[in-house]
């Protein structure tokens, strides 16, 4: 196959790549800002845990499951009024960050929950036996001990958000999704299509490798 991407397309591609990265980074950040505490609450309020609270745990669990069960594209449409309220518009890169973040929060909460659940209960008990309070258990035991697994979770979230952002792009969200849709799909510019595919593959690989490397670094230090 012959790639004929001239300078004009190259510029477009670069801009779209940057937009996608931007959306993914910002929405990963915000989804952890809210999802991490939610994950912590999901774990610590579970039965027998340090902040056991059946009511909070069940309600939160139900909300998380409900939002996770919605297909992202439906989520996107449902959130248009809210996005407009927060950002002023529902089109463009900035506007996409709202549905991306909101869709990722419950996903992050479950990932964090899984990571923290793996921590040996003996460590929590040791901390309690020293007189630690709940906050100290969370900040000095749960999070630091789960660090490698949490790092991998961030990579998984970011990769998922790349996929979501492409979907958002189709409804005018900007980034590589928009590029692929306008030029690749609507105008049959196959080289553009392939170029976005390659950029996406590189992006996903890069994030996965970064996550693996950082997690391995933490694990090796402790070994």
């Amino acid at each position: 196959m012959v790639f004929e991407i001239n300078a004009w397309y190259a510029d477009k591609l670069l801009l779209a790549t940057w937009e996608t990265l931007y959306m993914v980074i910002i929405s990963t950040f915000f989804s952890y800002l809210f999802g991490l505490p939610l994950g912590v609450i999901l774990v610590t309020t579970s039965d027998g845990h340090i902040l056991e609270n059946r009511g909070v745990n069940r309600v939160l669990g139900a909300v998380v499951n409900a939002t996770r069960s919605l297909p992202f594209i439906i989520f996107l449409i449902l959130l248009i009024p809210l996005t407009r309220l927060i950002v002023g518009t529902y089109i463009g890169t900035i506007a996409s960050i709202v549905p991306l973040t909101l869709a990722a929060i419950p996903f992050v909460a479950r990932l964090v929950e899984t990571s923290l659940k793996e921590i040996d209960w003996g460590l929590i008990e040791a901390a309690l036996s020293m007189g630690a309070n709940a906050w100290q258990v969370i900040s000095k035991v749960l999070i630091p001990e789960a660090k490698p697994s949490l790092i991998l979770g961030v990579a998984i979230t970011a990769i998922n958000l790349i996929g979501y952002s492409a979907m958002a792009g189709i409804v005018g969200g900007g980034g590589l999704g928009t590029l692929a849709y306008y030029y690749g799909y609507q105008r049959y510019e196959t080289p553009v299509m392939w170029a976005t595919v390659i950029v996406l593959i590189i992006m996903v690989q890069g994030i996965q490798m970064l996550g693996d490397t950082l997690a391995a670094k933490v694990i090796n230090k402790r070994r």
Partner: protein, 343 residues
């Protein structure tokens, strides 16, 4: 130092109730090493975990250093726990922290200023002999070294009581001995009260002053270690003692029969001796004093808390009256004498 009164713990699991402790009462004196031995599932861990309220008692009272820990608010309980150290079978060290920072952990929890805490950690590293491992992660330590870190960590806030739940059960015999030596040393140097949970009679034999035997959620026997070793009153205690002291009479000795002359009779006896009398030449003086002969058939000697402890199986020969006199002589010296056959 620790007063346990009427402690009952029932676990509620779906479909059944497990009575892990049934009306347990115990008293642990200040500065002693108190052992609690029992088979797996007897309730030992539950008992020790009630002392620092990791497990909430169903009924009963636990007084630690004059404070009823069952009646504390959660913040009072957290302060009380800082003065009750605990060590674990699987060490429970944080893999995310170096040895130094693991020992620092309880000091952080207690809010001790950083430089003061640093000084304390260095002292503790010295105490457990791991100064050269300060910056190493627990993943690089052997089991024995990990437990030393666990001990240093448990001592960081200068507790009055140290609870040990099977702290040597994951270690080989040699490492076990060195850890027990360290605990004994700490007990003597710091006058800290230690409660040792174990299923291993060697641990009791090695360092405990007193022992409670727990069986089926109940305390069946409590007493001085030497006393229980020399005179176990329950089958459970006897079984435990037999795991470390061979008290069985070899089968062939029981069925030995030799033709005897005249009025001579033979008796197969076992003499159990403890402490000082073990060193005395009691058998030879008995033979001199009474008209009996003694064949030493089988012997077994061990040390408990540094004192000799053992038993001798003897065949005593002589007329029945002399045999009785000789045996009474041994009993008067404080030895336990059991007769296995003969008149």
């Amino acid at each position: 130092m620790i007063e346990i009164k009427g402690l009952t713990k029932i676990y509620h699991t779906p479909g059944q109730e497990i009575r892990a402790l049934d009306n347990v009462s115990l008293s642990v004196k200040k500065g002693e090493i108190f052992g609690i031995i029992g088979l797996s599932g007897a309730g030992k861990s539950t008992l020790v975990r009630c002392i620092n309220m990791l497990e909430k008692p169903t009924a009963g009272q636990i007084i630690v250093d004059g404070q009823d820990v069952t009646a504390l608010s959660s913040s009072e309980l957290r302060s009380a726990r800082q003065k009750i150290g605990m060590i674990f079978q699987h060490f429970n060290l944080l893999s995310s922290r170096t040895v130094f920072d693991n020992i620092m952990f309880p000091l952080e929890i207690a809010g001790v200023p950083r430089n003061e805490a640093s000084k304390r950690v260095k002292e503790l590293l010295e105490l457990v002999g791991l100064s050269d491992k300060a910056q190493v992660y627990p993943g690089q330590l052997s089991g024995g070294q990990k437990q030393r870190v666990g001990i240093a960590r448990a001592l960081a806030n200068e507790p009055k009581v140290l609870l040990s739940d099977e702290a040597t059960s994951a270690l080989d015999p040699q490492t076990t001995r060195s850890i027990l030596g360290l605990l004994k040393d700490i007990n003597q140097r710091l006058n800290i009260t230690i409660v040792m949970i174990t299923h291993d009679m060697n641990v009791i034999k090695e360092i405990c002053d007193r022992v409670a035997v727990i069986h089926d959620s109940k305390i069946v026997e409590v007493g001085d270690v030497l006393e229980i070793f020399s005179n176990p009153r329950t089958p459970v205690s006897r079984d435990f003692i037999n795991t470390v002291v061979n008290r069985d009479i070899p089968e062939e000795l029981l069925h030995r029969s030799k033709p005897l002359e005249g009025s001579m009779t033979a008796r197969l006896i076992r003499v159990t001796f403890i402490g000082e009398s073990a060193g005395d030449p009691v058998i030879s003086s008995m033979v001199k004093k009474y008209d009996v002969k003694a064949n030493i058939l089988y012997g077994n000697i061990d040390r408990i808390k540094g004192k000799p402890f053992g038993n001798l199986t003897l065949e005593l020969l002589g007329d029945p009256v002399s045999l009785d006199d000789a045996m009474n002589y041994l009993r008067d010296l404080g030895l336990e004498v059991e007769v296995f056959n003969g008149v």
